[in-house]
Subunit: 253 residues, 2 copies
């Protein structure tokens, strides 16, 4: 994989030229403000597969933006098992949960060679109190994360294994598309185990589902390569059939 060797020039790309700007923080800022934001952003060299961006318990100094690659965040149980909390694609910001404790509450490691931008949070806060739209942008960012988590809670609390995986794949697909990649064909950078952990399923269940979706002509699966053949069908599977499960309770009035 010669393409893995990323030139340092690429890393130096500033926020104003970054194709991720609309996904990342600068959205809605004036060019002047982006300049100021750019001044506080640090860009480290690429991390290799398995490297940590931060670990649970690390003191909190920075937020991190995925620039290229994929990051998983996870927590550890006492016995060393891990619970995947999220997968993060380019343009997504991680470390938001650490603001309140001044300490990272989960670990983050890259699933493939990845470039990460560092945003020193103190500087960011200072900047935010001067740039109103940046402050607003940050609030929105945090708020969005809450919405996402809430949706995930609904998914885990109500749905079947099939719905979970279908929803997961459609979500991934959408996010790939937003980044300008193909919507119906992509590589999974995470293992079946990690998908299972994220979705609250055993890895065997994930594997079986892939097989079944392939048999049904909805997917083509070849190891980590996924092709969505029948998107509509997949979307149907992702939607919980009305009233099919418990714990959807009727409004009480």
């Amino acid at each position: 994989m010669a393409s893995r060797i990323v030139s340092f020039e690429k890393i130096k790309v500033a926020c104003k030229n970054c194709t991720l700007a609309t996904l990342c923080l600068p959205m809605g800022l004036t060019p002047d403000d982006v300049e100021r934001l750019d001044a506080i952003v640090k860009r480290s060299r690429p991390l290799q597969k398995g490297d940590h961006v931060f670990r649970n318990g690390d003191p909190f100094h920075n937020l991190y933006v995925v620039k290229t690659g994929t990051v998983k965040t996870y927590t550890e149980s006492p016995d060393g098992g891990e619970q995947v909390v999220g997968f993060h694609l380019p343009g997504e910001i991680i470390g938001l949960d650490a603001i309140q404790t001044d300490q990272h509450g989960c670990s983050a490691r890259v699933l493939e060679t990845s470039a990460i931008c560092e945003l020193p949070f103190d500087n960011l806060e200072d900047l935010a109190s001067h740039i109103h739209s940046l402050q607003h942008q940050l609030f929105r960012l945090l708020s969005k994360e809450i919405s996402r988590d809430t949706e995930m809670l609904s998914l885990l609390s109500k749905s079947t294994a099939e719905e979970r995986l279908a929803t997961f794949l459609l979500d991934l697909s959408k996010r790939h598309q937003q980044r300008g990649f193909a919507a119906n064909e992509f590589f999974l950078s995470m293992s079946r185990q990690e998908i299972g952990s994220y979705l609250g399923l055993a890895l065997e269940t994930v594997s079986r589902l892939f097989t079944r979706l392939q048999e049904d002509g909805i997917l083509r699966v070849e190891r980590k390569h996924i092709e969505i053949l029948d998107r509509d069908h997949l979307a149907v599977l992702a939607i919980k059939p009305a009233g099919s499960r418990a714990n959807t309770c009727q409004a009480s009035d």
Copy 2:
């Protein structure tokens, strides 16, 4: 509804005199700043059981602080079923997920007669860019919500019905205690159905668990009244026995 007529004196209590200040927003602000915050807070008259604080889709103008009572937030599925997203005690702030869309992404209704403070978000943002500690406080608040959701995700994704209920009860107990109420004895303001929805369980399962925990001498349950008899034992149940479930995967290096 004679009880609707509550003395307005009670409502007028300002932030600076509010016993919830340490839980709510003013924490860490100077008396002067609290005064300024106080000026933008609106206090409406108490809501009655079943009343909505806001509904899914409502335009977003305010954050809301529970002053007394309990609020549940929930989303609705197309078929009218509801998915409980959270239960909120005095001092807790709701509506945070609406910041990003300018529209509430869930509904909130009170489970018992409750007083709610309104915080116009525009004003709050303005104030935050002048008062650095308020800005920081808001970031922390949002961040904390993310942490809470993440923990909930772990709970739903990994654990058994028993662990979920035990964790839920201990969490409620802790929050009651933080508010100066008894830790080991309290009333549930929500139904079994709502608990089930929140924990991703059928209401029958919740009911059976209450019965069992009572038989085991861990709880005393009488309808909505709960007494924790053996807190240590309950805490043991809340902790996932190491390696007892799937989807805890080993670190891959």
